[in-house]
């Protein structure tokens, strides 16, 4: 059960990464490769606020949320907005991700830094498995975040407009949806989310510049498994990915956990490329 808790909590991080991907995918119609890098910035801001300066906890959340929101907004304006063709986003978003990692490395160095949890973090026993509070927090956050996003999409005008835009941007803008603001808003929201979860992700993963690559790939596996644009899909995909990883590490060996996740990705793409809960839209032309 300890392994299950570990898997679910790592999986929760993947769910959060995939949620960020999906927010941008739905609102801006593109894939933000740098999303995991935004979470990494949130983790480093948490380290800076909690360890380096010793700010009060709520200020840390505020700074992390606002700070990463700004980074994400800047990314949209600089690296996405000016590029007309979506193919160009492939290069610019990889560039943005590299740039963010480079800056983080310049400021904080390449070594892994331990981020303390904002509350007591003593291991407890839940359902027969050892678990630390931050892990439970992460699982809760992933579920709350997914539900919140789902509610936002279904029950608010902005959310419905986003769904409309993700179906057909042109038609949505003809109906009065400002798709440009929607895109910027989507990036900002994914940035704020990435920042706010930083103080929770950090204690689990450490703060280090290589964090983003692993998160980006596993988050992608989560999204591919669940289906692009599907919120419930990325919850399932993220938790399954985390569990597979933790169980492999426990029963097979640490060197095989990424290999197994990779094999999982290949199987999904071969057997069900639209993901477990995704649907293929047939209209092409």
């Amino acid at each position: 059960m300890t392994t299950v808790w570990a898997g679910l909590s790592v999986g929760a991080i993947y769910v959060l990464v995939a949620l960020g991907y999906n927010i941008v995918f739905i609102t801006a119609g593109t894939f933000n490769f740098a999303n995991a890098n935004l979470i990494m910035v949130g983790v480093f801001i948490a380290y800076w606020g909690l360890v380096q300066v010793g700010l009060p906890v709520f200020v840390v959340f505020l700074v992390a949320g606002a700070g990463v929101l700004l980074v994400a907004g800047a990314e949209e304006r600089v690296a996405f907005r000016p590029v007309k063709h979506h193919d160009g986003h492939l290069v610019t978003s990889v560039g943005a991700a590299t740039l963010i990692t480079g800056v983080v490395q310049l400021i904080w160095g390449a070594d892994a830094l331990q981020v303390p949890f904002i509350a007591k973090n003593n291991p407890t026993s839940v359902l027969g498995g050892r678990v630390v509070p931050v892990e439970l927090w992460l699982i809760g956050l992933a579920l709350v975040g997914a539900f919140g996003l789902h509610a936002l999409l279904r029950w608010t005008m902005v959310g419905l407009a986003s769904l409309a835009a993700s179906e057909d941007r042109e038609a949505a803008s003809l109906r009065g949806v400002n798709t440009r603001w929607l895109g910027l808003g989507g990036f900002a929201l994914s940035g704020a989310l990435a920042g706010v979860i930083g103080p929770f992700v950090g204690p689990k993963t450490f703060a280090f510049a290589g964090l983003a690559i692993a998160l980006a790939l596993k988050g992608f596996v989560a999204m591919a498994m669940g289906g692009f644009g599907s919120i419930s899909g990325c919850v399932v995909g993220g938790f399954v990915t985390g569990l597979v990883e933790a169980l492999t590490a426990r029963w097979v060996g640490g060197t095989y956990e990424d290999l197994t996740v990779f094999a999982l990705l290949l199987v999904i793409l071969m057997v069900r490329p639209t993901g477990l809960l995704g649907e293929r839209t047939e209209r092409i032309i």
Partner: protein, 611 residues
Amino acid sequence: MAAGLRGRRPPWALLPLALAGLTIAYPWMGGGPFWTRQIILIAVLALTVSGLNLSFGYAGELALGQVAMYAAGAYVSGYFAVHGHHELLFGVLAGAAGALVVGIASGVPGLRLGGWSLGMVSFFLVLLLPDILATFSKQTGGYTGLIGITPAHLFGHKLTPHGFYVATIVIAVVWLAVLRNLVSSRHGASFLVLRQSPVLAASLGIPVYRMKLTAYALGAIPAGIAGALFAYLNLFLDPATFAFDAAIAILAASVLGGSASVYGAVFGAIVMQLGPLRSTGFQHYALVVYGGFLVLSGILLSQGVAGIIRPLLGRLVPSSRTSTVAAPAAVADRAEPAPRVPGDVLEVQGVTKRFGGVVALDEVSLRAEPGKITALIGPNGSGKTTLLNIVSGFYGPSAGTIRLGGDDLHGRAPHAIARMGVARTFQTPLIPVSLTTAEVVATGRYRRVGVSMLSSVLRLPAYWRARREDGEEAARALARVGIPERRDQQAASLPLGTRRLVEVARALAGGPRVLLFDEVASGLDEGDLAHLSDIMRAIRDAGATIVLVEHNFGLVLDLADQIYVLVNGQLLTSGSPDEIAAHPAVLEQYLGVKRSAPEAGARGQPDGRTR
């Protein structure tokens, strides 16, 4: 290459070869070991980058894991070298084969979804590399690296440093020549079509998935060769060489030189090798610089540096690029009678299409005959384009049959249907960028006449014959639509009316058994429209089967021999233009002319898009 000299080849076309010769001679011109090593490293990087250019620049699939192919080549040949197989050519082939296996294994699933999935799958390989090396630590040396690689031998003799240098440059030059021959052939044009639009590629008979996989897997080969050469150069393999930074450096070099180019890879490799990669002080800022550069270049030049240089170069030295088609021997401009376009009967029977709960087409039947223009009209959303997409194979029908002549089209892939003789145009013309009009029109022939990649690379007679015929056929088709003078212009930058004519010419070039024109008149002015009408009549009179999907009621009445009216996915009626023009239900549905009061207002909005 030798056969290429037959044409009117300007002397500067041999510049790359001359430069290659100079590079090979460098050690005998006083080049020391430091610079020969740098040049070998440039060649190694250029090889790796050229593979990425093939998959990303030409086929449009971003392979972030090119460095993993490079590593595969290095470790495979390194492993053999450690175990006493130190023949250079064997190592290079083994390295290429190793990379090819990795390329196919990651490409087959990675290409199932478009866009990012291949990039992520191949990027995942970079993350996995340390684990894989650790798993096979006995063979690869694990985290500490692979030691004990013996220097390369060539045909049993140990290579001197100079010998190895020459061998490396020759191998790089041979590969670049192979690549150049490939991309300047119709296969290169096919890649560019694919990059522009997979839908267009399929409608021209290009099997999309297989072509993408081919580009990606071929792109792995030079990376594997590069890895092998690097193993023999360094005689030690450090896993840290093949990390994330290297992946980004390769991408940066590709973008720097222009991804859709051959020699751009060399340019990018020179800059990267002599600049960032050599200086140790730079390492601190490497990621910031690469990242900033990628963002900037992505914004400024969606085509890379070559995208800026080539038009400039084109102005200075005309046709700096080898054309995929030969210039015709002045056959086209003569007023010879236009050849026949023998069509076949297209028969659609009881076709139904459901999208979830929506019935887009309900039991629709129509028949288009050779030598006739069959028009399909109806308001927006009535199912016209859906029907066209079903005939082309982009959608599978929920029920019904589609036959062309004696052949059943039902259930076949779009590219297979295109190869059976179904040619089409698009509502918004799909014209690949950076191809001339003649080259674009010639792509219409690919479905009918195939040339193997090997013939193109080795420039075998089949290649030359196809190239000549492509040029002649393109010229004929362009003459037929009245724009022979546009032959050598960039097709994508032509005005809309002319681009539509280019699409018609492209559809004609493949000897179509049926022509599907999708809203071919929209956006055209009166003059263009009249011209287009004349051309369509002429094509019809040459025996073609034409299916015209149109909004323009006046044009359809004027042009069509048989008209089918679709409303809400159902066939309302069909008949001659006179019958349709007098049909009360059509007038109500389509023109908003009300009949008697009791029936009026029973159904939707009149369509306002008629003249």
